[in-house]
Amino acid sequence: MLTQLIPLVVVGPMAIAAALLALAHVLPRYVPDVIAIATALGLSAFCGLLGAYALNHGPLTYWFGGWTPGRGVVLGIGFGVDPASAALAAFVGLLFAAAFVFAWGYFDEVHAHFHVLMLLFLAAMVGFCLTRDLFNLFVWFEVMSVSAFALTAYQLETPSLSGALNFTVTNSVAAFMMLGGVGLIYARAGVLDFEALGKVVAGAGHDPVIAGAFCLLAGALMIKGAILPFHFWLSDAHAVAPSPVSVIFSGAMVSVGLFALLKLALQVFGASADSRFLMHGLFIGLGCATSVVGGLMAWGQRHLKRMLAFSTIAHLGIMLIAVATLSATGVAGFLFYAVGHGLVKGALFMIMGILLATKASVDELDLKGLGKDIWPAGIAMGLGGLLLGGGPLGALDTGTRLVHAAAIAIGPLATAAIVLGSALTGAAVLRATGRIFLNLGPDPGDEAEAPSQKDQEKADRPLWLMLAPCLLLLLLAIVPVDGAKLIVARMAGVLASPRSADGAPPLPGTSLVLPCLSIGLAIIIALLDLFRERLPRPLVSATAGGTQIIFRGLKVLHSGLVGDYVVWIVIGLATFSIAFAFH
């Protein structure tokens, strides 16, 4: 019975989006908001229900059009609802509901285009999570991309358009790579269903075509997941998208991309020695590099939305480390981390929206000391910074500790990269909080005249309305989730082998040392940066020289030119094949 209702998870939001598009001009003003919030919440609850059912009774499968596999041939396209995918889909729905509440009254126009695009985006993301067909995965990837492109360019100003153009071009190249990968593996296997593909891959041994398909698919999903050197589009797009859209981009879209990589690596390429070699070697290295570079770039920004975008890149690097271990602990850590990070980052982007609405700026120096009258936002932002920096509280912390536990086998470098990445991103947010809401730090003087553009988001919304969803997300982010560890361990077990019914291995115990180290480092870096002037002068000039060189180098690389980004994509793909040469 429940199985027959599975298609509703994508058909529902799409049908409602179509109805809204047709009827928006006759509906009263706030009706589209209410409908959108109700849809997202309903979808979230339904996915949660499906997940709970799948947890108790095993994964559910729905074959579209009744094309069930027969005589060993899988022709149909299926949705496979395993508990982890359903839980992630439920989380995505919840985040959308929060973003819709935050966007209440944000858009003046009567046609509800924003809600239509967002609902399409939601349907695509849920389909992307639940599908078990490789080509269907590509279709959802594209639907997700198209609605995301349009939402980025929504304001139709020059910065948002150029950011959206970079986003569109790079992610279109990702789509072509993905389709090429789908084609290659179809050439070998003749099927597109995950499970059937997994069997073929297991029987194939070393096959350059399958290895090539894995490279293309992984490359495409790592462009979506913004992993070095494919990450450049993210900071352009997230910095210019409307704040409610950035909430979804950073909170859900990118981590869902990595989730798909995880699923493919486990269910399709699980038995391929080539893909394991690449995951355990190169991808862990890329994850570490992404974490550190993202952290450094975040710390060096004064445009706050760009800073949060780079912070997302750093955390995606950490998530990639978790994915690439392919261990039960790593997978469980990824699930906690994706949800925890999504909640915190969603809340932080909402605070950026509040700053844009009330202060008409997101420039850190420009805003110095201006946040006094909206102090509740400051408390929320400080809390968000502490959580990002590794504060030992809530889902993000549980995830971080599990990732640390999974990364112990890799060596101290991975551990250091994770600590440094989270400490730097936390430090950046804490520094901005101190400067804006506590008026700390040196007077910026002439520097306050920012080179970054002036931008404002719609101003006449009540503060409490914008703050409520933000606080709700933060509240969810600090709820202790250690009790859910057993359930998530089972989810991770089912994800790795949907057929086996054996119990999941228990997750390892975790220590408080690394989170405390990370948060301590974050606070120290933030304070050092704010009170630079009171430090001994020789020390300041010595460190300033070194950091200047690093930042200048990183800035040259982040050129903002789409041509450069595409070259980096090619370099990344070439790196994959060079790595294989050493296999």
């Binding site: 970079n166 389709l179 084609g183 800035k555 041509g563």
Partner: protein
């Protein structure tokens, strides 16, 4: 299956990417992106091709006649639709940029660069 279609697909992808990487005009760049995309059409269609096979329509053929693979053709059809959507969206954005900014050169349209401090 001949190796030629693979080489054509790789070549098309390569020149398309080269065009995107070096383009100084967004309309030209979008055209290059379409070239890139056509490499996937060639790849997919050649994957499903069978020598001496008919089109997968069995109206006037007995069932069991050797036919080319209809699955990849369905994939290509879907891909064309998606490609058209993206090209239309990109062209619309490029027109909008031209109207606002008076240029289509990516060099002059860099997204905001956060300054370090």
């Amino acid at each position: 299956m001949s190796v030629l279609p693979w080489l054509v697909a790789a070549w098309l992808f390569g020149v398309g990417v080269y065009g995107v990487a070096t383009s100084r005009n967004f309309i030209h760049l979008i055209g290059c992106l379409s070239v890139c995309q056509s490499s996937t059409y060639v790849l997919l269609l050649s994957l499903g091709y069978r020598w001496k096979a008919v089109a997968p329509i069995f109206y006037d053929h007995p069932p069991g006649t050797l036919a080319v693979d209809p699955v990849v053709q369905a994939l290509v059809l879907t891909d064309i639709v998606v490609g058209a959507t993206i090209t239309a969206l990109l062209l619309a954005m490029a027109l909008r940029v031209d109207a606002k900014h008076g240029t289509l050169d990516p060099q002059e349209l860099r997204p905001l660069q956060g300054e370090g401090h």
